[in-house]
Point group: D5
Chain length 146, copies 10
């Protein structure tokens, strides 16, 4: 079973169970963004967590194996089109150079890891319109000289 | 004076004054990421803030006018190459679809605004290696039906 | 059922019923452009409207569910080829910079939302050749400084 | 004098005169969007109008000649990056196919001309946030068969 | 039935009938280039002509409906590869700017329509090698000022 | 002197002399499209014709040398943006496959040469709007088998 | 039967018959490169040669018809990836401008035809490593002036 | 002195001396294609040959140094536009896969080197039109297994 | 059987046998990277090695034939997206020019072959985090002059 | 002084001093590849090393400051053209997927860092042609789950 088939099965099971990502995340003891990305096939799960996801969503063990497999991470469009995802791309375009300068001024020459990395979504209620809070947390990796 | 010349002048003045973005931000009463982006030419400042930036960095009033001008926001590469900026692009590629699902499940069909939007950088000290914390805060905009 | 299958079913039903978008729009109490975009899978409908669309077109309830689902909005060609759509793209290319200046002069630094947004099509009869009137109506969003 | 130099001269004169596009448009008896696009070098003016623009902005007659010249219309990016212009591009991507169907249902097989074409910008005040109204008005051109 | 299936059916029928485009064009009273483009799915036919094409090629009435449908015109490669089509693309690249100047000098600022447009192919016999004569005939559309 | 400088000089001289391409073409005994393309730097002239062009436009002999040089033919955009040139590109996209079939049916497997090639522009007056007539005339080259 | 199916059939038959392109070429009295390109679907064969190819490879007459059909020549990648084909592309990149100059110095302004064109492959044995000899033979086509 | 300046100097000297590539090649004892590519900056010369080229063309010793420098080989367009160079690209596109098969059948799995490589241009006179003969000669390199 | 089917069969057999690439490589007496690349379809094996791979993985002889076939080497994305592969691409981008200079300074003008080439992967244990050691070993090929 | 000017100055000084990268690397106590990349502007040096590089090459202190500045790492071509660099790109294309599998089998799901990374060049003398040995050494970074 490949990641694509796994993903269809898991999303269908999630719909059938009427569970949110928060529900599943609580059930397996992980974070909603990570659980969703694993079910979308963009991260691998440990055998233990994979089993918990399958139990929670009532799907059989083949799926657990597919969740454990190491994914090849690819996306469809170099420049995303869906407005939700494009806005994130736009933020990288507009603020990328600024962030590089502000972060490197504090941390030195290096990058924020996208591998040793976690991310959370929060909702901030606001009478003028609720706000989405995305928190990206990545290890700083200094460039090596040798 | 265009934004490019303004930017060179401001970055040179910043280096001469040996001030960090934090220092300038405190002096003008705004956030470091926003101040840096205005000095890079990717945001416009109000006349009042523009004047404060110029005073802080000891540059003359033409610069203030350039800071107030409404920028055309463009970036050089559709797919960024500098490793710092590429990692952010990679996060959008790997997690974009996941984030869309997690956010829309909580907020309904819509997007996180990149216009009614703020962003902060923080440093989390960690014995295994300090971590960069990026916080994106955007108003949720529901799609309209009509 | 995904949006693509939904779309084929709805367009076939529309042909079978010999209804125009105007007819369907009147029947469900919404605007023709929005109704068409929802049936094409580029907007989500509320459960209530989805049900009305299905009743109007005599299709079953699975379709209603697909109309309610939040779409991922993508299009086939970065630069459109069909002459009808290309002309719109050309207008953006030729007048984009001009519009930005004219609008921002009146409204300040910001954008016209494509999310809090509606659009209408009208026909203006003219002996020298009828004219198409497209009206785009989007909320102005000022850039935030912080 | 080429269109680029003309444009810089006209925009500088406009700033010096502290006139808005509305002011200039009233003075020359044309529409603001068209006047702005001619000054940006994306449309040619008749000798008569060109002279009026020059008189209004107090610039000399070489500029009039440049305004009269037939432009080669090009734009910098196949996919625009500035958020203002991108939102228009996004509208074409999201609604292009829908518009083609809605318009052709009413008018027959053909296109909306981008040449025999006018456009207006209006401001609709709204307590929840002012709205931008763009009106595109193009002659319908039926495909010929032969 | 979509345009692709229609096209396969019509080309197969044409081969079976051993008719040339000239033969079919004469039978239906239209021009060979237009008839071929309608059968390839790049133009729509009136119901009357569609019926004649179907009668001429002995195919059933579903095909007529597909011929009448308004096509979405797309092509596979932004830069064509087949040597026949590439040579036409090359002519546009090499002579495009020249033609713009020569035509606009005679007609004023505007374009040659590709919609109100016809095209013919002729063969000029020549002892040094026969020559292909392509005649493009498009309405001149002056840019509007407003 | 390179082709670009030559072109600027020749277009300036043409404006100064207030001659049309037709005027120059008559004076040198060649066709307007070819003369324009040589002056734009997209074709080389024989020394004899080059001299006549220089005499006609009152420019000195360096220009003649540049007219005689063999050009490297390049154009700026793989997909043209100016509406005049784009319409020609669109014709190639919409009708390319059709033309290949219609021509090869008459001539056999091969191409229309873009090298052994001439082109003319004519104006057809028409009360409903004048029409542009482009005539492309290229030698048919059959594919060789060996 | 289309060219793709033809190609699979012919390559399978060739493998079954354990014949090399040289063997087939000798049997049909043509050159190996041309025979291979016809079987790959990149050239059309005369009915006579097509029949000989079919007889040699013991395949039935439908294949002959497909060999006679005029191909649309397309290739998968604008920049080839397979190392064998990339090296040829690299030669065009590195030496293209040089070849243009060397050939045009000898022949005048024009091109080497890729249509009235043949090509051969030879093996030159060499103790330091055998060498591949590719010979391209194309008619010189002078640019026409008119 | 960089390769670009070197190239301009050498081509100007060649024009001044009215020497062909054949003349220069004979004078320095190398092949015309190689000499031209070295002067264009796409190959490096040994100090000895560099000096001979400079002597032959009467240019000073800085040029010799630039001829000896190891070039970075780049070209302007991924898909060439000049018709002369495009025809070579087209040959690679149309025949690349065929050549790979024909050559590998004779030589085994591997490539024709573009580094251990030479190339010649010859003219074959022909009453029906002279022909260009390009001979590419590259060492066959078998893929290694390990 | 084509390379894609072969690859699926071999990877499935490897999973069933629970063998690592190291295990298979030892069994067939070749290196793990090469064995993996042959099973992925990016290198051809000799008949002898192909048979050993099939015996080791208990698959039948058709697979051996597919392993022996000469592959056409293509990859999906010009710019890789999976983070593992992108990091290698980034190394080529960041260090490519540097490596060219450092290697050519030692070896002269030429390249490192990617054909007469081997590669190994090693693991270096390190308390601060294990390290990956990639060793690329390619024959130096000097450019020929002729 | 920006990185580009710094690079020109350093390469000129290196040529003047007739030092190899090995010589400079020994003098400053770092590795040749790293020293070259810092001088090319693709890595930043510590103030101490920067001073040593300047002393070794006899250039003044402004250069040291430029060496210390944090670079924005960009490269000219998404797909490199110079044959030396292209071969490295080809290795990533041909072996990227293979390496991912071989490395992840040994190390788990993760990547080889291109930041905590070093690289060496060695020469292996060989009577059949010397070989280039590139050694890449990067920390393995496991993907985090959270």
């Amino acid at each position: 079973m490949d990641k694509l088939e796994m993903r269809h099965t898991l999303l269908a099971a999630k719909a059938r169970k009427k569970m949110s990502w928060d529900d599943i995340a609580s059930a397996v003891g992980m974070s909603p963004v990570w659980v969703a990305s694993a079910c979308y096939g963009m991260n691998s799960a440990s055998p233990d967590i994979a089993k918990k996801i399958c139990t929670t969503l009532d799907v059989d063990g083949d799926i657990a194996e597919a969740l454990v497999a190491f994914p090849t991470k690819v996306w469809d469009e170099a420049i995303p089109q869906d407005p939700f995802i494009y806005r994130l791309y736009e933020v990288v375009g507009v603020y990328g150079e600024t962030l590089k300068d502000v972060v490197q001024e504090q941390f030195g020459d290096g990058i924020m890891s996208a591998i040793d990395f976690t991310m959370e979504v929060d909702k901030v209620e606001d009478p003028k319109g609720d706000r989405v809070l995305l928190t990206l947390n990545g290890k700083f990796l200094p460039y090596k000289s040798w």
